[in-house]
Structures are given as structure tokens and as C-alpha cells.
Symmetry: C2
Subunit: 340 residues, 2 copies
Amino acid sequence: MRATVMYGAGDVRVEDRPAPAIEEDTDAIVRVVRTCICGSDLHPYHSMAASSDGTTMGHEMIGVVEQTGDLVSTVTPGDLVIAPFAFSDNTCDICLDGFQTACPHGGYFSTCQSEVVRVPQADGTLVVAPATEDEAILKSYLALSDVYLTGYHAAFMGKVEPGKSVTVIGDGAVGLSAVLAASRMGADRIILMGRHTDRTDLGRDFGATDVVAERGQEGVEKVRSMTDRQGTHVVLEAVGHMAAYEQSYGVVRSGGVISRVGVPQYEDAPVGFMSLFGRNITLTGGPAPVRAYLEQGLKDVTSGLINPGQLFDVTLPLDEAPKGYELMDSRKALKVMLKP
Amino acid sequence: MRATVMYGAGDVRVEDRPAPAIEEDTDAIVRVVRTCICGSDLHPYHSMAASSDGTTMGHEMIGVVEQTGDLVSTVTPGDLVIAPFAFSDNTCDICLDGFQTACPHGGYFSTCQSEVVRVPQADGTLVVAPATEDEAILKSYLALSDVYLTGYHAAFMGKVEPGKSVTVIGDGAVGLSAVLAASRMGADRIILMGRHTDRTDLGRDFGATDVVAERGQEGVEKVRSMTDRQGTHVVLEAVGHMAAYEQSYGVVRSGGVISRVGVPQYEDAPVGFMSLFGRNITLTGGPAPVRAYLEQGLKDVTSGLINPGQLFDVTLPLDEAPKGYELMDSRKALKVMLKP
């Protein structure tokens, strides 16, 4: 089968690799219908050390079930399914708490930018979607695999609700998803911090009430001046760099919440009296337990309430994955969908 | 009047200082009935640079109102009052959110270990308590000024409730208060990490179901072994040192909450993928908005539901404050009450 493999920073190739097969009775084999490139894939694209073996890429996909292990009961061959970017048993205490990305029997996908994927814990992982050939619907299904529900997770952990003001940091696909989710949850005001007009325009369509193009201390001052110098109840941080973290505690209101879904590119950060503690700021977030939100997200898509598929502005054949990486890295594309 | 003044690490004196007077129409002058030494006073006791001016000490007190400014309407001379360790207007947006320690018109007391205190924002700060000469009740009133409600704040921000398991880190007066508050909120299990038997015994009286004397990685392993290797839903961190922070993320369950009320003796700490983010750990807490919880705390004391005054194991005359610091620093006293 064809698979996307990264051999080092900037070196992405699509090549033949052995197709996966059932290994455990709880596995399913899924033929990929659509997959995509994630903003988080750009981190290794910038920094991966060169290797001769290469690393398969991709953690987002929708597909059709081809084969199931003997213990799989919730999906059958022919089903169109959405795969969260992490697999999980969905029955353990941690999954029942709603944190499937920390399931002790789970893990992250890493081969989805290919033609065929082995899905461990198929019953706990896959969700069947109504069959369709409508490209717009397929895009929205694919957005439920990670990007939209990652934005949703930020808003969920930030306890966005009517009466709350929200700042979203980052106008990438996850940031725009966070805007859409915050709007869906009834936030009074959504300030989107981003400087790419085509993206912030989509952000306005998704529900942003204000856009702040300034960054760093200038951006912090702008948001504070717009909020009686208080900042907003919630900050949804969808970038992952230290500058975005510092911006977050600059614009959050005392007693408020910073909810992170941008994968932190740092381990240590300020949390003491001068940053979080002194003003009772809560820090939350992490890898989105997409599985916890998938059924509801699917209802919202099929009912037409949300259309997160709008985030995909470029579609390429799988074999052109390297071009997709280039387009996203140069910000010529917001989010690239790949068709095997 | 007599006042406690610190002139440098280990150098505490009680000396004559000018008595305060009304400065603003919103002030009250309060004659101190009981005050006390806080665990956080030991940080400067260990590290304050020597000075010739000295720094007045103390942020906890109950007292009798002597005089009020023209705009004060909720307290009158003769009232027995409890003062939270921070003053606040209790009318602004931030106070109404329940975060009075971040009130833009507020601040921290710093002269309570003395005979008379000026209370700014008296209407927003002081709460009248039923008059009493019962020493046990006075102790519990005094505990509402900071220590018990600081423990309560930890549990409140950690969302302790029936069905939740809790680890409390620290067997000082705040840690034991957190145990009492978590028990009051109906936690299923309360594991107290502490190694002073006389203190952990009081912790058991307050509701701790388990005591773990081990510290560091050994302590983490012990708690994990007691909880199916999962850790507890909530960790209440009542110490403030980095070792306690590291212990916190070691014993917290995936998706759980670390709630800090020990004043952090660090600014930067691990918050990235390997510590908080990867397992969706929430970090919360800060200086307790005692004022938000004071009426309910007072009801719980007067109804006999809680008896946080038990935390005071030594009472000294105000003039012996230096001895009180020594006793607390050497852990010969859990918490020292001072009588002017």
C-alpha cells in the first residue's frame, strides 16, 4: 500500500509499505477514504532528525471497515467509520471519566496518511457514520477525527458557557475549531487572536465577535483594553509555543481558565505567584479525548448545526502528501485533506 | 500599641509602634482579640534579608470594632468580627466571581500580629460573628480568617465531591484543613501524605481515611499502589515547595485536578506533555478568597459541624510572638495563637 513517511525535517515521501493485517482479536482493518495533515505534524517537519528508516505519519482518518477481529462487535465490513486520533478501550475507569487519550490500553495512531490502517481496540475506538458520497459531509466527518473536537475539548475543559467571554489564541485550524465550539456552547464574546485575514474571516463566520491581529505584549494590551482591563474568563490556547502560553496568562481574567490544546513545545513554564497562582488562574487541557465527544459531534454535523469541514481548503491525492506539507508549512493552506 | 516586627531571617521582635487611625471613609479600626502565626510566615522567617526598619507581620485576626469611617454601614463599634487575610470591596466583578483576593481595590493584611489593625474596605471585608468568650469558639473563628478556609478553597477549586478520591500533600495546619474540608464535601477517600504522627492523627480525626508517611517517589509509588496504579481524582497541595508539586503530578489520576494553596516557592514548573498536558491534568488554586466562603464557614462552626480551632495547639501572649515563631519553625507547635 501507499504510505506517507517522514525521513527527517522537510523530507516527506509517499512510498510502498506492507499493508497491515489483523494482529489482535480486537483489531479492525480500515481502508482509508480521507486523511489529512495536522498542524502538529509540522513540528517534526521542522525538527525531525534525519533517519534511513523513516517514520510513518498521520493520525486522522475516516474509512471503510474491511475486516474485523473475532471479538469486534460494533463495526462490520462495509461500515463507514470515523477514527479518533487515539485508540482506547472505552470501558476502563479513565475512559468512563471521559479521558480516552489516557486509556491504559490505548495509544495514538501514527500511520493514517496511507491507504490502509490497523485499528486496535476497534469497538472502543471507531464510530459508524451514515454512508455518504457528499464531499462536504466527508470533510466534516474527517474534521471530527481530530481538529474540530480538539477545539471542542479546549472549550469543554475551559467550561465555556453563556455569560462567559473567551479569547482564542491561534488562527490555525484548531484555533478556528475552538471558536466554532465556543460559539456552539453559547459564549457571549469570542476574541480571536490571529493575523491571517483569510483565516480570521472564517473565524468570524464560525462565531468570533472580535479579531485582534497584534501579538505578544501588544496583543495582551489590546485584549485588556477591550475588556475593562480584566481579560476574558476563558483562554483557549491552540498554538503550543511559549509565546502563546505567556499571552494566555496576560489576557485571562482573575479566577479564569487557560485551556491548552496546542501541544506544548516546552516542558517548564511560569505557574507561580506572578503568573497563575496569585490570581487563581486555572490551567487545563491536553490531548483531546475525541472519542468522548464523537457521537455528539456527529449529530451536530448530520443535523447541519456545524460545518467544520470548511477548515479543509486544499484537497490532494495521497501521493502528493509532500506538497500538502509544504502548503501547510508556508501557510498557503489552512488544512490539507488527502485522498488515497 | 504592641506589634510584631521581623528584622530579618529568624529575628522577630515585639515592640511599640504607632496605633493606626481611620484614613479613608471606608476604613474600620479593629482591636485584635486573637491573632496567629501562619505557615507562610515561616518563608520570610527563613529567608528575609536583614533590615533596620523591620517589617510588620500577620494577616490573620478576629477582633472588636472600635471605630468606623463615615461610609461604613455593615459593622459598628462593639461588633466581634472576623477579618479574611485579604481585604476587598466585595462588590466588583472579580469579587462577585468569588475571587476576592484579586479584587482591584483589595490587598493583603500585613499588621495583624499586633493590638490594633486598620481594615480598609470594611464593608466588603469584615463579617460579624456571634459574641462569645468560649475559647474553643474563638479559635474556630480565628481559623476562618485564613487557615481553614484556605484548605476549603483547595477542595473547592479541586471540585471535591462524593465519589471522588483525594490526596492531601502536607500535614501542616492548611493540609489538615484541606482534609477537614474534603471530608465536609463528601470525598470517598482522603489520603493524607505526612509524617508527623501527632498531626496525621488529627488528620484522621478530621476525616483522612489513609495516611502515607513516605515522601517523594516512594510516596508516589505508595499512593499509586493503593489506588489501582491510577492515583486520585484530586490532589490538594498545601506545601508550596517544588518537591510537593512534583509529588502532586505523580499521584494525580489522568484527567484529575491538582489544587494548590501552598504559596509556590518557585515560578517555573513542569506543565508540558510529560507532567500535566499528556494526561489532561488540571492545575488550579491560589490565595484563598476567604471572604467568599466566610458566611458558610461561620454557620458550620456555630452549628458545631466543624471545629477547625483544634488546629491551634499552642496559645501565647502577643509579646511572646518570637517564641511562637520558634515553636512553629521547629515543628513543636502546629499553629500558634497569640493573645494581645
